[in-house]
Amino acid sequence: MSGNKREIGRFLERHAKIIAPLLEGHGIDFSATLSPISNRKLRTGDSFYITLDCFATDQLFGARPLDEKDLENSLKTAQHTKSTNSHFVMDEGAALISLFKKLHLFSDNNQNEEASEVISFGESEEENNKRLRDQRSEENDGVLTMNQLKSLYQSTESKFEDTILPDSIPNDLLLELRPYQKYGLSWMLFREQEYDLVGLNNPQVTDEGKEDFKKLMTEISGTKNPLWKECKWPTLSSASNDGFCEQTEEPFYVNLYTGACSHYCPMIQNHTYGGILADEMGLGKTITTLALILSCHEDKSYIQPCRRDRYAHKTTLIIVPMALLSQWESEFAKANGNTRRKCYIYYGTETLGDLSLLLCENPTAPTVILTTYGTVQSEAARITKTGNKIGLFSVTFFRIIIDEGHNIRNKSAKTTKAIHSLSSSRKWVLTGTPIVNRLDDLYSLLVFLDLQPWAKYYIWRRFITEPFDQGRDLNDAFALLKSILDPIILRRTKDQKDKDGNLLVSLPSREIIIERLKFNEKEEILYNHLKAKAINVLTENMKAGLVLKNYSSILTHLLRLRQVCCHLDLIRLPVTDISNEDEDLKDSLNMMADQATDESFRILQDLEKEEEKSKLSFEKLLAMKNEIYQSYPDFDDVECTICTGPIEIETCVITECKHCFCLGCLMEHFNFQSRLHTSINASNNLIVSQLPEVPVISKEVFCPVCRQSIHKNRLFRTFKPEFKGYSASKTDSTEAYLTQMEHTHERDYYIRPFNPYGKSSKINALLSHLQQIYEENPGDHVIVFSQFTSFLDLVEKELKSYTCNFRILKFDGRLNVDQRQRALNEFNTKTTDGRITILLISLKAGGVGLNLTIASKAFLLDPHWNNATEFQAIDRIHRVGQSKSVKVVRFIMEGSIEERMLKIQERKNQLGEALSMNDEERRKKKVEEIEILFAE
């Protein structure tokens, strides 16, 4: 320490480290006052106090550019300092920060500590890590939970409630917008900086008003630079206040990496035109978006259209999932009130080539081009091959909108990359679920929007992913995330209220029922067999610690179990057929597990042989039929002795002893009797793995009326003669033959042998529901979801052969666009003859986007791993436009893997897992889930 060119003493080393570099620079002036400890004269070697006043000079607040580049540069500096920094020399910036820390200038209390985490000069790496660990263990509840995600959503929801963006009322839109949609339109126009258009046609908005909110909105649309911390000036001590420095309450800001200081709050302004419209499903994102397109259909600032620019300045490209293509087209046609605005579908054969001819310099260029994610991806793939910029990639669009934008959440997926490389001046993401699984889902959307600097992965990682993954600086990261999202995202939910306190959307009530079904004997035998197999495989793998390695093989087993829950015939199909429907298995197919399938197939065959044996012989059948026809000339006044109600021809079964019952009543009798037997013989059936080679399904059951022994395989069913929906397959050749013969008789019914195990328990349950709907609400519309298209095929067949009162339509991934549209169109027409219309939809193809509000009843035949997927499906009918209360039935096989799946769904809801887990934890979770599935 030198003063007056004379050395009078030394600072402690840790203080000197801070002060030395600052003396070199010009940012801080020092003035030192010496105060001796005692009154006696100082001698060499004595200690004394030095009061050191530090004054910040104007040079400290040098004019540094405060833009997004600052973030990158700072990070680089930080990297640099980390590697070169020795324990003894600090650069000026670092010293400054240490000084501020010592003086407790950072305004927040705990900021000191956090700051020391961010920069690790002083302390050794080791020490620092230890500190981190300690802190982490304290902050165990710091992981981002579902609740935090919700609050994140909520904060973005409420953000714009108080701001005074006026409603806009577009010209060319034929549809009436709801108030919140008008607001949404204004917000979108604002995001596109079309300030003149905000408040469009709204008589209450003056130009002055426009200016005001423009200012307001611009203020809140930036993000505070996360590298900068707020500091407060200390109160001046009277001793040092000698008049040449100012006292101020204003805070100032310090960059924690470079030590740069600023009087102004450093903001990162985003220059993105566009954003994320994340309104909850059913609030009309499509309509709002179409209103935006029709309000602002071209880039007005672009003056001289020129082909060479390749700027499609009049065209908005909308990318949608294939299933929604025709829906968007028809929505556009409905909304568009200006015949000059055209919509062009770019899909299938109508693709490739140079689009600039069509789109640039063409006064009649289409306003909207609709295409699918698949089209974009396949074009991108072709471009990589040929190197020519063709098709969608040949021009820069005015605007790109991606519907169901979470489709591109995986940043390394081919489709995502293709979408990212499309160019346009404005970009929008429409999605009801901006975060599907993890925070990085958002990242990919930000890349699409080109929201700098966050769209740079190392920056995103550093400030968002890492803090959340490691659970440190959570509050900061959370606040930052919120401030990034706030300006660019608009999200409203159905249960949000408008300023008058009314719900944004009042939907009719919704009832979701879980209906637990019992396996029939045949299904149960097969299920138990497959379950025993699966458990064996799992225990072996558990022992060997190979669960994750053989994950796909285990998944195959699980898949088989899920199939048996739906329909036995599904296991006849090779796993490859099925796996196309199951995402989890697509990539990692394991044929090993199919050995088990072969075995179950053999069991199934044995069961069927046994069944065949117990059936009546052909001659006996003929004789029986004649006897029955004689005993019952008609069915008037025939009563079921079980329910004491009259018997319908459609639902009547006749026993060998020629007594009539309702099908349902007699089956209940059978089931009840066999349950009684099972509970008596329970001890024999305890060990599943010791199943008899050819299990016997039937126990003796007696006719309720005459107590003769009756058998499920020897019953008859009656049909109305006019019903011809039944198409005889090869196995029914004798039945078809018998039926033919009887048509010569004049009778109001005919009979056929009954096949008790022909349908799966689920199809039976579905049938009885549908029959009831037909009776109570003829002409109604119903939708039926399953994940297995092959199951839907079976359902279709069974429903068609059951009665002609059902009009059955199917919608799955195998249909092309035209076929899809046709199916939907037909579904939306009403029948005139009271038939009920049933749409069979594969969960994957039709679970999102579709609007099926003509139906108010839905059945979910099988559970999905992810609860949200099921709810999305339910929202096809429970959405704006639905006038009736909605009833949904979810079928679950009792005591089966499906019940376990429900448990896992619950677990997922509770954990909000995906947000906070790293790979290791995720793996652990997978194993745990498997254990839940097989837990006894």
């Binding site: 079980i642 329910c643 109600g645 209940e668 309720p704």
Partner: protein
Amino acid sequence: MSLPKRIIRETERLVSDPVPGITAVPHEDNLRYFNVTIDGPSGSPYEGGKFKLELFLPDDYPMLAPKVRFLTKIYHPNIDRLGRICLDVLKANWSPALQVRTILLSIQALLSSPNPDDPLANEVAEEWKSNEQNAIKTAREWTERFAQ
């Protein structure tokens, strides 16, 4: 749980078309629970008596038989001190084709023809077999004492 149509139909018929000598009235707050009276059949030692019973239809009815019990004390080889009844159609021979009406008729018939070979009240059955006269006398006395 809603009441199955069958129970409603049966109850209606029991009221509109009652069996002679038998009444069955459902409880107001539990329509599966019936208050039953059976008149002692003429020619039996129970003649002149009015026997009270309770009858309950379990959830699994009609797959499962109704539960019936005498509330009035009765001297009968097939009915024990607690009023429990030994009757095949209430146990193994139950069939869903049977009804409350038919069950009550069977019980009435049981009063006419006691079956001491398949006893529930062993002492009563012994008496019935060894000294029928005396047994019938006791039955009559009980009827006068308890079933009026």
